[in-house]
């Protein structure tokens, strides 16, 4: 079974704080993705990466940033959290022609 991990699972944080959501995969996949999902709604792609030092913005504009310094690691950072950032953040990875795998998500609440 594939391994893709997101931490933390749940996070409640105050407005203005800097946060980093972690995502790691042990499958050596080149492609990684961050999706955002508001309660009850569908996913939206906010960032993706096709390999080390490659990052692109997705379909939905986001104030978050990402980095890809190592193949297995794709963290997402919010420099100054706001209540509008309250959402679920889902990380995924895949390799061309292979299956996609999802983390369990991080549920972020900004108060």
């Amino acid at each position: 079974e594939a391994d893709i991990y997101q931490t933390p699972r749940y996070l409640v944080i105050g407005t203005g704080k800097k946060i980093t959501l972690e995502c790691s995969q042990t499958m050596g996949h080149d492609k990684m993705y961050w999706y955002q999902q508001d309660p009850g709604m569908e996913l939206h792609l906010i960032h993706y990466s096709y390999g080390v030092n490659s990052t692109e913005k997705g379909d939905l504009s986001s104030e978050s940033t990402v980095s890809r310094i190592r193949t297995e690691h794709f963290p997402l950072t919010l420099e100054s959290a706001r209540p509008s950032h309250t959402s679920q953040y889902l990380c995924a990875s895949s390799d061309t022609g292979a299956r996609a795998f999802f983390g369990q998500g991080t549920r972020l609440t900004v108060v």
Binding site: P39, E42, L43, A100, F102
Partner: protein, 113 residues
């Protein structure tokens, strides 16, 4: 807790064959249901969604899904598949009272020309 079960991990069809991918969820209350598709090398895209109303919903590219509440199912169908439908398909559920979307493990569909 909400959970989603997709019956087949891999499906292989010839072009023009009919498709039905099974999806069952475990939650007795009100649900929102989704099917997503991920083409090779691309990110997830929404195929269709059900929130309420007509239980037969139509999505993009000729796909449709039927919500059968008594069976806790939301199966995806297409009358005639094409080679370009080769992709991975994910069923997802969001139950009332749960703020997160739960995905099935996905079904890899391979359509041979």
């Amino acid at each position: 807790a909400q959970s989603v079960s997709q019956h087949n991990h891999h499906v292989i069809l010839s072009e023009a064959a009919s498709l039905e991918l099974g999806c069952n969820y475990s939650y007795g209350g009100t649900v929102n249901l989704f099917w997503y598709v991920q083409y090779p090398g691309q990110h997830l895209q929404l195929l269709l969604k059900y929130f309420s109303g007509d239980p037969l919903v139509k999505g993009i590219k000729g796909f449709e899904a039927e919500f059968i509440k008594s069976k806790f199912s939301f199966n995806l169908r297409k009358p005639s598949v094409q080679w370009s439908d080769t992709a991975e398909y994910f069923c997802a559920v969001n139950a009332l009272g749960y703020s997160t979307l739960t995905f099935g493990k996905g079904t890899m569909l391979l359509v041979s020309p």
